[in-house]
Structure formats: C-alpha cells, structure tokens
Symmetry: C2
Subunit: 343 residues, 2 copies
C-alpha cells in the first residue's frame, strides 16, 4: 500500500518549510523561481499529491463542483455531464455528482449532503425543487446554476431553454408542414415533460388542431419500445392522427418502427417529431425531425459561469437562454410527402 507522501517530506527534501511548498503548488508566482524549481523536483521525485481531505478541512471548502441529475442512463443528462467535464478539464476542481431518480425529496436530501461539504459550486437540473430545497440553495455560500431549463425565478444562475416554447415551435412546425390532426406521445410525465405538453397544447389550440383525445401518455420512463406501444395505442383509438409530437427521441424512434410494422408511410401518412436531437435522429430512415437542445453547451456554460464567479470575473446574464432549434428532417415532410427539406 502506497505510503503517503506529505508536504513535510517534500519540504525536507527541498530544504524549505512546508508552507513554502504549499505556496509553490498553489501560487507558483509567489515563490522564487529557484526555490520553486527545487520544490518541483522534490514533488516529482517523491510523487507527492495533495490530500484533498486535509485541504478541505483546513480551508473549510472543497474544490468540488456538485452536480445533481435525475438519471445517469438518460443520454440527455450525460451529455450535460460531458460538457461539465470538458469545462472543468485543466482546473483544480473535481466533479461530484449524485442521482435524484427524478424524486424531489431525494434531490432535497442530496442538496444538503453536498452543501455540507462546502462545494465550490453546484449544478442542478431543472427548476422543480421543493420549497425546502429552494431555501437551502438560497442560503448556499457557493454559486448555483440550474441547467436544462429556464424559468422566471433563478436561485442564482440558469442556463437552459424554455421547454414550453420549444415544444410549441415543434408543434408549429408540424402545422406548417400541413399536418392537421397531430397527437402527443409522452412518457414519465414529470414536470418538465408537462411543460412540453403545455407548449404542444397551446400551439395546437392556437392552430385549431388540438384534440385532448389524441394525447397518449404513460408514467413509466421513456424507451423505444414504449414509443412503439404509445403509437399503437393512439392509432388504435384515433387512426385519423396524421402526426405525433414525441416527448423525446426514444419515443420518436419507437413510433417510427411501429409505423413501419403497421405499414404506415412516414411522413406521408404520419409525421413524426422527436425532442432532443440525439445523434441517431439524423441517421434514421427516414431521417427524424427533432428539437436540438444544446446539452453539451449547457454543461460547459454552467461551469464557465461558476468559474467566472469564483474568479471574480463577470459570469454574464443570470439567465442564459440557449434557444432550442427545430431540425426539420424528412419525417415531417408533410402529408403529401413531397416537400423539400434541409438535411
């Protein structure tokens, strides 16, 4: 087992006091070049690495960015994580993440756990925190960024987009392409999904094409297989449905496969629009329309906002809206199936 190399040993080796080594490591410019060289050499020879626990105890804060996400198995959140990782490369910060399983109570508890470590920053998904969680966050002594969604009342900073508006735009797109009997496919139906539905509903009503009966949802998490089932159920009840706006891309892919099984031409007889624009959407046959949400960038920006704040730089606007964007593909070419579209 690796014997622990301490500051003191490095100091002895370099012929200086421990505190000088400490300084040389954290703020190299505050120690003489020659001294620093000796110290660096000693560090290298001994393989010294600082003990994060000791450091946290001495400073009263941890060089940790806490990240709270609902799930690790959902590509949407891992893309955000990926952006966070990228933004933190070459920094002194570690990422520490925890999973809420879409449960506000769990989230509340985990916020407490994180704050107890005095993290350098906190990144949290969405805007649906409990009141207690909200109070905890309000009193947090570190920057807090809510990601994935924007809303009127940020805890501190926010980077995301309006799910309502994005869904409305997608619905508008369906209508523009000539679909007149659009349905909605939804899974899990957490608050964020509900807001997407609200966007769909608002826009469909505005276009005079809304029918509550063409809404097919389930409480279970989304999946490709689930998308297939939802479409089958919806068409069973309402065969006249001529397009579906799907909660997310997994459902959309499943809907596409089910349409194939049922012999329903896409987009001619059925238009399909997903949400999130996972990589596969572009590669599908027919290619699938979706709503691009800049997940990687959200993570990267969240980190940048935190780092700016910590460094005393300007973090920019408290609410950063990374507009979602419709990527129109063949699956929504329109009921006639002959409309040209960008790839």
């Amino acid at each position: 087992m690796a014997k622990r190399v301490t500051l003191a040993e490095v100091a002895a080796r370099a012929g200086v006091s421990p505190i000088t080594v400490s300084r040389a490591l954290r703020r190299p410019d505050t120690v003489q070049a020659e001294t620093r060289a000796r110290i660096d050499a000693a560090v290298a020879e001994l393989g010294y690495v600082p003990d994060p626990a000791a450091r946290a105890l001495a400073t009263g804060r941890a060089d940790v960015i806490g990240v709270l996400i609902p799930s690790v198995t959902n590509a949407v959140f891992t893309d955000v994580l990926s952006g966070i990782y990228d933004g933190l490369a070459d920094s002194r910060f570690d990422v520490q993440y925890a999973i809420t399983r879409y449960d506000p109570g769990t989230e509340e508890k985990l916020i407490g756990v994180f704050l107890r470590q005095r993290p350098a920053g906190l990144i949290i998904s969405g805007i649906d925190q409990t009141d207690a969680a909200r109070r905890l966050l309000d009193r947090a002594s570190c920057p807090v960024v809510q990601v994935m969604e924007t809303g009127p009342d940020p805890v501190d900073m926010m980077v995301g987009f309006s799910h309502h508006d994005a869904a409305a735009a997608a619905t508008r797109h369906l209508i523009d392409r000539g679909y007149r009997r659009p349905g909605f496919l939804g899974a899990r139906m957490d608050p964020r999904t509900q807001r997407r539905f609200a966007g769909f509903r608002a826009e469909a009503e505005a276009g005079g094409v809304f029918d509550l009966d063409r809404v097919e949802t389930t409480e279970v998490p989304s999946s490709v297989g689930g998308g297939a089932e939802l479409l089958r159920a919806l068409l069973g009840r309402h065969p006249e449905t001529d397009a579906v706006f799907c909660n997310n891309d997994d459902l959309a892919l499943g809907a596409l496969f089910e349409a194939m099984r049922m012999g329903i031409p896409v987009p001619g007889q059925l238009g399909i629009c997903g949400f999130n624009d996972l990589e596969m959407m572009r590669a599908a046959e027919p290619s699938l329309t979706s709503v691009r949400t800049n997940r990687f960038e959200m993570g990267a920006r969240a980190v940048e906002m935190i780092r700016a704040r910590l460094d005393g730089r300007d973090p920019g606007p408290a609410i950063l809206d990374l507009k979602a964007e419709i990527l129109a593909r063949r699956s929504t070419d329109g009921p006639t199936g002959n409309r040209p579209v960008e790839t």
Copy 2:
C-alpha cells in the same frame, strides 16, 4: 450560509464529551442507551451531519468507492454505473467517478488521484491498464474490481465476460443461420473492440467464411451515422457480403437504416447482429439480434464484492464471469428469411 454544526456542539448540548458522540454515531451499541438517547436528540435538534473531510483526515481513509470509466456518453458504461449506484444505496459509501476518455495515460493518472484519497474500493473498466497503473493497483490498500471484461490475470477481483468468446458466439450464430459471407463493422477499435474482432475472426476462420477484405473499421467513436457509413463502404467494395457483425448496437442500428436506404432486405439479403443489446434492439423493425451483456449486474456485483471484502465476508470467486448471451431476433433470421425465431 449554513453554519457548520460540530461534534463539540452536539456534545455540549448532550452533556457528554465529543468522543462519546462520535462513538454513539458510529457504534451505537458501545454507549449506554440513555446517553445515546440524549445524543440522538441533540443531533436531531442541531441538525448535525459529520464532516466527511475531517473524518477522512482522522481515519486515513474515505468512505468512497472510486469508479473509472472511459466515457459518460456511452450507454454501456452508464448502465454499469447505474448498477453500482443501486448496490451502494443504503450504504455509507459515496461513489466518485472519473472519466479516462479511453486513454490509458489518463487512467493511470486518475488511479493515482483516487488512491491518494484512500478510497474504500476501486472499480475500473477493463483489463488494459498500463504497467505503471497496474503497479499502483497492485499496491492499493483497498479492494479493486475490474469490470466489463474477464481475463487471466486480475489485479484483485473481476466481473465481466470474454469479449472474444461473445463475439465468436455471435459469429457462430450468423454462420448457423446460413450466412456465408459475413463482414465486420467496427469503430474506435480500442483493445476491447480488437478482442471482439479477434473472436469474430477466429470463429469465421473456423467456419471457413472469413475474408479480411470484408472488415470495415474506423478509429472514430461509434455512432448510428457511423454504422451507416461503414455499411455503405463495405457493400461498395463487397456487395456479396450477406451479414455484418457490428462492434456495437449503434453501428447495427445505423447499418439497418442504411440497408433500408439502399433497398436491401434485412435479414433476407443482409443479416445484422449488434453487441450489448441496448433496449432499442428489441423494438426495432425488424428486431435486431444482439449480444446481451449484463452491464447493470456487473456494477451491482462489483459493489457487492467490495462490500463483502470490507465486511470480512466471502466475496466469492475472484473472477466472476457473467456470460454474455446471444439474443437472436429477426435481423438474423437467415438469408432465406423464413427461419422462425424467439422474440
């Protein structure tokens, strides 16, 4: 900002010494019931939560399970993570993970970082560590589990399967179904992928159907779009190819879509087999054959092995082989396309 409640404050409140509080929390049976009651009350009233940094410093070890995976955006690893999380629920351990980006050098460095925290256990992906990393792990003072793959020489414990054998079995399946000119589609081509290729090659050669020219690979990470491109390239050179064994499911899905675009019937003119059995494989049209790798269970078992070791229980065999299993679906029904198959 939340003022920190310390052991000393709880002790004062309960009218005992700090160490007694510490004991009451960690080993309740070693303090008198009545004392314990007073302490518990004080803890609750003050909302005391132990400081993990102080604890780590004092004990010389952290209640952390370190996890090293190549990527967060690959569903394969997040499923393992999910299993780990599950196995650690209701334990005192935290998960801490780091991303190697498929780079052995990064992995080596991160192992050092983790070990410095004296974690309670370490879970690491695969068997392709550098020599230096290997030495670090050999001297580690905590249980180490290599997941995702089995091999002859575990650092400590292992839970996974043979990628070579799994690929060979998949290839055997293609041959058994009557395909005689199988090709291989591969992306990233890291060592683990190479071993899958080796399994494909060995079995194809044994069956007298191997042709190195029907191998299409790329160094870029796999994706659905990439699978489409690889298939197109392969068929461009070798239109006689009658089946493809794909590196993973993303490629297989892409191959399916590309076959559709090219008007090639699956499975009649082209058989497709993936690897990992992501959820979508089952829902595709036609349903896609794949190799089920028990990723969630790998994570859960790895955790269980570590916990057993820490608790002084028997962790079971050092090398746990969670056999991969072929899930035959319609995409490999055979060149004639009329072979019945389980769903």
